[in-house]
């Protein structure tokens, strides 16, 4: 059978980053093809090239066996390819009807509101999508509806190949099921579907074949029925860490030795969540979370991206609104979200997005490390700042020209170490860290874990969010797996990796 869409030897470079190296992918008519890979693996880049949004540096695109070249997104649509990209594509200030007209490449120059409303009804019926009130302003709609509008928009041109970049990240289980049902219908009718997702469960429930990308290369393509979630989960995590990943037996992070729960009989918990749920207009509802960490206690939340662990962490740190109760060292934090109150109560936070939220890129390392309470009564105590920075940079092994280098000039891993250095140097009562070792080499990652265990040993409670199945047990602390906003029961660090993988993938343990 001739593939509907075939990509051959696609390479793409962004400055320093080789986003794709000679990736090939072929999509057959009638199939739902899942595209998997860690963050930054190159999935979005690949589909952007397929859809004419980006030009590849090298490689070929074939439609039904004949080579094509797209100068513009429009060309790809004309060739029967439609892409629903990862980021929001809608005009918030316009109505559903207007947005669908905007997304329809064949919409006429002039169109009456009635005609636009008619399109909404037509699309909703044809694709069995609930698109809501045609006159509603889009920015007032729930994300699930917005997602469906985007999908309906992509479908208006009757594309033979439909590419969806992480469409389910914001959908509820029911919505996801409905989406898969409608995709299945398309496939059965001979259409081809490419679907990017981080969720193995839905891949195994709904896709026909899958392709796995890792660090810009395709690692595996196979029928879903020929593999298991465990195998793919393992490959995914290996991809995230690189092929060099070995068992880290040589490090002194033996779980049992460092299990930091000596302080279990302390009366006052350092971090306590009661009936807690972040407030976000989104489909992934975090269920009411209750947990309590005593001084010195560490809890690892293990979750694939997009399951809400990040949002839980952000809400605790005061960056999102929440309902329920959060207490840090006995002080309850305002539910409106107040990072200052969190900090004042002794909280420290390592955000997932270090470029946007971790560091001020155009300030020096010294200055970054001195925030939020720079030393000095009247004037900045520059020498204290320098000394402080010097110590931290040395002890965290940050590779930088000097302490006056701009934070933005450091590599990602080194930036991460700077953030950790700043947060840990504050001797926090509670540390909340999201993906603290992401992007770090093995030695540095081990050092970071050691640091976290050290703060715990000195009496801090820590909540670490990670997506790394193999790393999670290395903390030697209890684990809880987060899937779709739901926390599993506490698990021992000795829980078999296979069990954790199945839980993370949303399959029953």
């Amino acid at each position: 059978m001739l593939p509907s869409l075939e990509l051959r030897g696609i390479s793409k470079r962004f400055g320093e980053t080789q986003a794709l190296s000679e990736v090939s992918l072929s999509i057959l008519p009638g199939e739902i093809h899942a595209l998997l890979g860690e963050n930054g693996a190159g999935k979005s880049t690949l589909v952007s090239i397929a859809a004419g949004r980006l030009a590849a540096d090298a490689g070929e695109i074939l439609r039904n066996g004949s080579p094509v070249s797209f100068d513009r997104a429009r060309d790809a649509r004309d060739a029967g390819l439609a892409l629903v990209p990862q980021h929001d594509l809608l005009i918030g200030a316009a109505s559903v009807a207007d947005n669908l007209a905007f997304l329809d490449p064949n919409a006429p120059f002039f169109e009456s509101p009635a005609a636009r409303r008619a399109r909404v009804i037509r699309l909703a019926q044809r694709f069995a999508l609930d698109l809501g009130d045609a006159n509603a302003r889009v920015d007032a709609l729930p994300v699930g509806t917005r997602q469906r509008i985007e999908i309906a928009g992509a479908l208006t041109g009757h594309p033979e190949v439909l590419i969806l970049d992480e469409p389910t990240a914001v959908l509820s289980p029911d919505e996801t099921a409905a989406l898969f049902a409608s995709l299945r219908k398309r496939a059965d009718a001979g259409g081809a579907v490419v679907l990017i997702t981080h969720r193995l469960a839905e891949v195994f429930a709904g896709a026909d074949r899958l392709t796995l990308l890792a660090r810009g290369r395709s690692v595996k393509t196979c029928r879903v029925s020929e593999t298991t979630p465990e195998e793919i989960g393992g490959l995914l995590l290996a991809g995230a860490e690189g092929e060099t990943r070995e068992k880290e037996k040589d490090f002194d992070t033996h779980p049992s030795k460092h299990a930091a729960r000596s302080a279990a009989n302390q009366p006052l918990p350092s971090l306590e969540l009661t009936g807690f749920a972040p407030h976000l207009a989104s489909a992934v509802r975090t269920e009411n979370v209750s947990l309590s960490l005593s001084p010195g206690e560490l809890l690892v939340l293990l979750a694939i991206d997009g399951n809400g662990a990040d949002t839980i962490a952000r809400a605790i740190a005061g960056l999102e609104r929440f309902s329920g109760r959060v207490e840090v060292g006995g002080v309850s934090l305002p539910p409106s979200g107040d990072p200052l109150a969190f900090r004042a109560a002794g909280g420290a936070f390592v955000p997932a997005d270090r470029r946007e939220e971790g560091l001020v890129a155009s300030l020096s390392l010294e200055e970054n490390l001195a925030l939020p309470d720079p030393p000095g009564r009247v004037f900045l105590d520059r020498s204290a700042m320098r000394a402080h920075a010097g110590d931290l940079l040395a002890s965290f092994g940050v590779r930088a020209a000097s302490s006056t280098a701009l934070a933005g000039s450091l590599s990602g891993g080194n930036q991460q170490k700077v953030v950790l250095a700043r947060e840990l140097s504050r001797s926090p009562r509670v540390l909340v860290a999201v993906h603290p070792t992401r992007g770090l080499d093995l030695a540095s990652a081990a050092a970071v874990r050691r640091r976290i265990l050290d703060v715990c040993r000195s009496g801090a409670a820590a909540l670490v969010i990670t997506a790394d199945l193999d790393e999670a047990p290395l903390f030697g602390a209890p684990l809880r797996v987060v899937t779709r906003g739901r926390l599993s029961a506490p698990l021992q660090p000795t829980t078999p990796v296979e069990t954790l993988g199945r839980l993370m993938a949303g399959l029953a343990a």
Binding site: P339, L340, A361, A370, L371, P374
Partner: protein, 340 residues
């Protein structure tokens, strides 16, 4: 809006100055005057004599203050386009309380300046409130507040603040004892310029060398990071916004105290807008902005001399700073694109 490297700032300023000079020569030729005479008059009239230097300094007072006010706001990420209105508010306060204050001149001056700084700070409050509570961009609200302030000046000099002696639309004059005397006779430069430069240094120190300044800069450069790190972003913005308003208000107060002695309508020839341009030229660094303000003041005094000596139209004095700013923007855009 953000800081830029000294070298780049220098290149941009050099290009802009060259463009402004070219515009000047071209327009002078168009007006039928000799560019050599014009440039000579420009130099003579701005820095050529003690008196000329005095005029430049007298003009510079308000501009230096509005320029550092703009820099301070921009560095904290606040786009305060309302300096003109805050300047007028300060002048109104000075004209309102000035004639009422009695006692030693020193006390009266202090009272007047405090009142004008307060008025300037108060005039940002509607914009700050709308920004914080309603998310209204401060750019829009401050433009509106400029309009309202200008209308208020017009109304006040014909109403509540009108000088009861004579029917003139002007406020009562400050007593001569209260007004600032020139530093040296035959020159118009008063202690106000010294105060303005001192404030420029002070603001530079605060922004560059104090813990507060570091926090302000961090908030301006990366609001999301500043929030996550635990800086009180909203409070810092409000602080910078109102401090910026206070400086602009002070500029208005000093203008009344040192230069005009009363409120007229119209009172300002765009000191607030020129301050923004100067801050831009100085890359939002307070000292560099103050230096740019001096440059604009010299240009103003010099182009008056040009008009007096060579008869070229006064409009030149408006065009040249505009060209200067536009070239800076274009040069900066090109440099940025090249690096990207």
């Amino acid at each position: 809006m953000t800081q830029e490297s000294a070298a780049r700032r220098f290149v941009v300023a050099a290009i802009a100055l060259a463009a402004a000079a070219a515009a000047l020569v071209g327009l002078t030729l168009l007006a039928g005057a000799s560019p050599i005479d014009a440039l000579h008059a420009l130099a003579e009239g701005s820095v050529g004599s003690r008196a000329a230097l005095g005029e430049t300094l007298a003009r510079a007072t308000a501009l230096v203050l509005t320029a550092i006010a703009a820099s301070l706001a921009f560095r904290a990420g606040v786009l305060n386009i309302g300096l003109e209105g805050q300047f007028l508010a300060g002048a109104v306060a000075a004209a309102a309380v000035g004639p009422l204050l009695s006692g030693a001149p020193f006390v009266a001056r202090a009272g007047l300046l405090v009142a004008s700084a307060l008025a300037g700070a108060l005039w940002v409050l509607p914009a700050a409130y709308l920004e914080a509570r309603r998310g209204v961009p401060e750019v829009l609200s401050t433009i509106l507040l400029n309009l309202i302030a200008a209308a208020a000046v017009s109304g006040l000099v014909r109403g509540a603040l009108q000088d009861p002696r004579g029917d003139y639309p002007q406020s009562r004059a400050l007593p001569d004892a209260v007004r600032l005397a020139p530093l040296v006779s035959g020159s118009r430069a008063t202690a106000a310029i010294v105060a303005a430069i001192a404030l420029a240094l002070l603001v530079t120190l605060v922004v560059e060398a104090t813990p507060l300044g570091l926090k302000l800069r961090a908030t301006g450069l990366a609001p999301a990071a500043a929030r996550a790190i635990g800086l009180p972003g909203a409070r810092l913005r409000l602080l910078a916004f109102s401090a910026s308003g206070a400086l602009a208000g002070l500029a208005g107060g000093l203008e009344v105290l040192a230069v005009t002695g009363r409120l007229y309508d119209p009172f300002s020839a765009g000191a607030g807008y020129t301050g923004i341009a100067a801050a831009l030229l100085g890359g939002s660094h307070p000292l560099a902005a103050a230096a740019s303000a001096m440059l604009f003041a010299a240009l103003g005094a010099g182009s008056s001399a040009m008009q007096r000596d060579t008869g070229v139209p006064g409009a030149l004095a408006t065009i040249v700073p505009g060209v200067l700013v536009l070239t800076v923007l274009a040069a900066r855009a090109r440099l940025t694109q090249k690096r990207a």
